[in-house]
Point group: C2
Chain length 899, copies 2
Amino acid sequence: MPKYVYAFAEGNKDLKDLLGGKGANLAEMAGMGLPVPPGFIVSTEACRVYLNTGAVPAELSSQVDVHLAALEKEMGKPLGAPEDPLLVAVRSGSKFSMPGMMETVLDVGLNDSSVIGLAKTSNDERFAWDSYRRLIQMFGKTVLGIDGEHFDKVLEAAKAARGSKSDLDLSTADLQQIVASYKGVVREQVGREFPQDPREQLDLAINAVFHSWNSPRARLYRRREHIPDDLGTAVNVMAMVFGNMGSDSGSGVAFTRNPATGERGVYGDYLQNAQGEDVVAGIRNTMPLAQLETLDAAAYRRLLEIMETLEQRYSDMCDIEFTIERGRLWMLQTRVGKRTAAAAFVVACQLVDEGLIDMDEALRRVAGDQLVQLMFPRFDAGAAAKVLCTGMNASPGAATGAAVFDSVTAVERAAKGEKVILVRRETNPEDLKGMIAAQGILTSHGGRTSHAAVVARGMGTTCVCGAEALHVDVPNKTATAPDGTVVNEGDMISIDGDTGEVFLGEVPVVPSSVVEYFEGTADPEAADAGDLLRAVHRIMSHADVKRRLLVRANADTGEDAARARRFGAQGIGLCRTEHMFLGDRRATVERLVVATTDEERQSALAELLPLQRGDFIEIFTEMAGQAVTIRLLDPPLHEFLPNLTDLTVKVALSREHGKPVEKDEMLLAAVRRLHEENPMLGLRGVRLGIAIKGLFGMQVRAIAQAAAEVRKRGLDVHPQIMIPLVGSVRELRLVAEETSGVLAEEAAREGVELGATIGTMIELPRAALTAGHIAEDAQFFSFGTNDLTQTTWGFSRDDVEGAFFSQYMEHGIFEASPFQTIDRHGVGQLVKIAAKAGREVRPDLELGVCGEHGGDPASVHFFHEAGLDYVSCSPFRVPVARLEAGRAAVEVASGSGTA
Amino acid sequence: MPKYVYAFAEGNKDLKDLLGGKGANLAEMAGMGLPVPPGFIVSTEACRVYLNTGAVPAELSSQVDVHLAALEKEMGKPLGAPEDPLLVAVRSGSKFSMPGMMETVLDVGLNDSSVIGLAKTSNDERFAWDSYRRLIQMFGKTVLGIDGEHFDKVLEAAKAARGSKSDLDLSTADLQQIVASYKGVVREQVGREFPQDPREQLDLAINAVFHSWNSPRARLYRRREHIPDDLGTAVNVMAMVFGNMGSDSGSGVAFTRNPATGERGVYGDYLQNAQGEDVVAGIRNTMPLAQLETLDAAAYRRLLEIMETLEQRYSDMCDIEFTIERGRLWMLQTRVGKRTAAAAFVVACQLVDEGLIDMDEALRRVAGDQLVQLMFPRFDAGAAAKVLCTGMNASPGAATGAAVFDSVTAVERAAKGEKVILVRRETNPEDLKGMIAAQGILTSHGGRTSHAAVVARGMGTTCVCGAEALHVDVPNKTATAPDGTVVNEGDMISIDGDTGEVFLGEVPVVPSSVVEYFEGTADPEAADAGDLLRAVHRIMSHADVKRRLLVRANADTGEDAARARRFGAQGIGLCRTEHMFLGDRRATVERLVVATTDEERQSALAELLPLQRGDFIEIFTEMAGQAVTIRLLDPPLHEFLPNLTDLTVKVALSREHGKPVEKDEMLLAAVRRLHEENPMLGLRGVRLGIAIKGLFGMQVRAIAQAAAEVRKRGLDVHPQIMIPLVGSVRELRLVAEETSGVLAEEAAREGVELGATIGTMIELPRAALTAGHIAEDAQFFSFGTNDLTQTTWGFSRDDVEGAFFSQYMEHGIFEASPFQTIDRHGVGQLVKIAAKAGREVRPDLELGVCGEHGGDPASVHFFHEAGLDYVSCSPFRVPVARLEAGRAAVEVASGSGTA
């Protein structure tokens, strides 16, 4: 017979699939002999049967019988017994936390008789009737599906009759009257009596919890969080304990260490004469947990012992919920505690020092996203600032600026050098220019997948969204805080993208000490370095020891290269030469682009050659001893010319005014000639090299001459020449032959070995699919996962800021933006296909990645698994990549990888 | 010891890899006992050794010794013997024909002594010295690498001295003087004497042929034709025979049937007292082959016998080259003869009737491209028209119109309803508008891969390119023919895309009888139907019996559907609903697109619903009993709005003139909102369906209501609802759930079963890579190979007309345009991956293709191999697809497929 019901004693913390998270942890505590109210768990398997067949399994009832009997025996009282009733809490609990999404029914077991027994045994008549009132209300809504409004009306009427606004003013008689009315509501709404049979109550409550798995809000939540729909929930049935039985009772929540800083020592809140809900609801002021010692020293000591025991068992910081019923301590929940980024690093190192975990495990316990948070500047914690409201922490950082309420104003003010925060109810693609211009974005509507949030994260702009308490009035350009404070256009505000807080005025910002450490200006071994820097240093060093992936940087200038090196980069994985075509070189580049004869073209190229050579000399010098991968010109040429629409309007208006247009018309002709409907899919990359004679040759010559020059100065250089956007080995071969020729020519002329290699980007699906052929002519592959994502999915990066992307996040079509975290199933599959095929043909083929994904934590793990040699990312992301590369190595080694 | 030299007797026609095409066929004829001048073949293997090592294999010399000795023995005279010399021809011959790309040396064996012997035995002193003169010249250029100019100068000087322009006027003495001078040239240019040793001549000639395999022009030719570089060439050494030994000698070329019509009976040209080169060169007028009977009845009869024998052996029409030396017939070459499209069909059926091949083989002997040629209208063969010149047949068809010399004029005249032919030296992307406006395109420069040719084929426009004899003067708007005829702007000209001919004036066009047959207006079984229609009918019928692939059509209207059905379509594979959003519905669609509220949107959709329903009723009625696959709206919405640049200019100018701009500004705001940098990669396909509430729902409702209506009329309908541009099963699932809901609703309301299925396009790499997941929610896949090609390669179809595409063709990067013929290695691999993964999940998954490739011959074979159920193409292409589907089936069955 399948087993559907488990005693706490039968479970443990590793059975979350079967017993849910809450149940597994309760079982663990029970097994440890900790004071957990007795109970049992109906498994997720039973739920799955219910979901598939519409009914609980036939065997469930008899199994509940057995476990209920054991519970009654242990508690010494039967469920809902008239004299001295056992009451139970019926709670959901799935493998993954889905806070508030599913149902709970408390006080199951109360009925017209047992309420009287409870009044007697609790010696608190009002408490008993209030509990009964609550049961009918909760059961009515949850189990019987009655609209809560009906119960609310009764309650309001009773309070009105008494002339009070608070439940607390209701007398026992009032509550008895309410119970009678509530029973009437049930009768009217569902045509049956409120069930008096305690066992019937229990069975219906279990069904209701199962049923709530598929409530619309739970389904929506799961879709967004990508929790599978077929897991189901367990049901925890546990004897009720009461923290609201007088001053020797109470409830609390606690962390075993400070979750903000990681500091050792208990940390929590306690509320006397209250149930757990009251602590969380924040209706009354709680006291610091330490004060419990003065109220009930024995319970306090016992609690500290238990917290210590739990840390030992979980080898981690835990959080707990507990209740003291008339001096007796009961543990209601525990789990590994959530913590801030700083605490994560500090606690991990503490645990190593305490012998609970090793350094590998410490590395596993922190994450690149946490490191990123620590690298943003933060508001000065010491500065006093008025919190206007709190929204969702949608994109990290600290931003301060003048409030503006529309995109146009944002752009105008920003153009004048002013810092602005764009404040909107919500954003849409038309707000994009303002979003780009702003230091930060604040919205009163929309969640973490809203347009504002998605775009801000994509741009790395600080964002607080869904600050519902703020009333944003765009036409009148005001935002009103709950306390009535009005923010007008131009008023300074500050937003904290880590906490979601919105402040009035300009809050001072302090730079990140972690960045100072990476920059080498803060010494982690100094006496005053602080726990955080010490911990970061220790864990980063361990990551560097463990990782197999090299980390390079994307850098286009000597300055970038130097910074990257300080941050730990082991070479440059992507040096974009198009950046060398801008600034004061624009005029020459324009001549190159609009050239119609070979002569004009050659003359422009000849002017660019020494300039490019200078750029490369600078970069090679900064990166001496390390590889520098240089991508030949990639972007469509129209990017170097004025915008078609703007120029067309200019010419039309000039003509209208009889102004000379000849020069602009010539330029316009070139712009038109180069105009493409879809430039991303047009004349760029290797196609430029083939179509424009001499362009790539000039670049290769500049690289060769720069390398020779730097070698002559006694420095080691490793130029890697990278051909972009190759789709066929035939394209690569044409360009590689020309490149080899130029390299040989220059090496002979300069009389030095250049040691240059020639390779290609793999950034088109076809390149990945034919990588075996391409490897015949490429000494290295660098995966351009930005473009590869664009073509594999068939949408452009512009769309991240466009119409459908945030809707896709909302609908759960993307688990994460595929431009941020690599899409393993699609793009990732191409990476693996190409890596395998390439290495089969050329076993020493060097493999790297130079898309934005190179600095994304989840993606770094993927690239480790895929067997790449290095990742390359922006200099700022280098530490994140180093950390995650280390984590990937220890995770794969311990078999906990995500492949 | 490796064998490098083969006697003719050792070879046969199937050894082309080893002996080259020419050698294998000579061996075949020798083996049949036909009169082939004795000789031997140095194999391609020897050439490969030469190419890899730079020297002929050591064993070659002794093997040549053996075969040369046998040849001398058979001929009864030693090579270059003073008294009666054996002379040999040394000719290249690779597996694939590379006409004119490699070298030939004739008359090897002549020297200062043997020339005298030859004079005696031939009894023609002038002939002997002229032969010697030719040998030194040919040998000097080919073997010794001397610039031909040096020899030309000598010859010109001799002619000038004689006051003549023709070689024929040179006397024996002149020729002797020239031989002396030529030997001087050799001495001066290469510092050695012209080799007198006949054997040395032979060895050097063999080496020279090997060497010519890698001449720049041969390499270029191979790259363009995609012939592998490592095949090498064989060398045929054959005793010289002379057709120029008097009136009882001569040379001819012939086909065993009429290669233009397929008519039975010999067909060829004969030239008395001439070598083969003279026949081909066309210097003197040839006589019809039949006249040979009057000159030499015995030789003629023998030739007819041989032609009959060859047809029996090759089971096909052959072409031959022969020489009669003093009454003795020698066969110099044979091969399967090239023929016109019409002849291919007619001959194939004749051969079946003659018992030489079966119908499967007849089907293999014709090709879809030939059928296409037969379906174009042609110039009336009976009309007298003056041929101005002949260029390359770059894109088929017959076009007539006024000559114009620039794009602007082409557009202007076309806008007035005039037919124009765009005449250019060559075209570039700026000519595109004119190319689109023109009936035909004529260029004087550039080959079949030139911009003009590639674009014209892409657009289906008739094109003749590279008509080098025509002098095109664009500034003066004239084109001058070799005979001095001047074509001015506006003069009527006609171009034949099949023959490359350019005519003066308007040549009458006759419709294709083959199209009349497909349309059902010409009866192939009528007495006067003609051989061609009978043959086409017979072969098409056999293809229909043999093919496994169904052929559907892409059709968007009832009219298209009806035509497709007449052409044999078995359903509609792609009905594009965007075409239903144009015309007088544009205003409503514009309202839909610019709508900013749900209400506005719903009102526009409600207006469109009955219109769409009407469209579907028409199509379902025409296609009763067959599947109709309807694609929900795919293109980006901005396509339904005015152009951004145009509208911006309009608004700017209106404002300048103080005109009201409010309405245009509102429209402009919408255009800006919908503007995308890369619309091909933007908000389109399923993304529209998700982003625009109600759009797909309206379309599905229209389909459901139309299907119900047509079912009620007693007709059978099979609607297939196709969701475009899906990249993830999650997108499909969202839309499919909505679609199923609407279908169920309408089915219930109408009280009929709709029998509709829901499927998706596979047109993104990610869809192909995750096809297993997508198949969970799709009842069919239709490969959208146009978009799949765009994203797999990362270039757009616009580029076909753009800057680099023709260069890519030129460089041989594409074997064929990937938008025309499916790219097997890239796009094809994705098709196979998706087909396999999809069928694993859903074995009855229907698989089809609806890109342009569905009507391309090579692609149809690929889709057959890939296991698809159907191809869908434009109605006009349906017969081609039927034919090729049949061919693919018999080829795969016989193991001669190209997989």
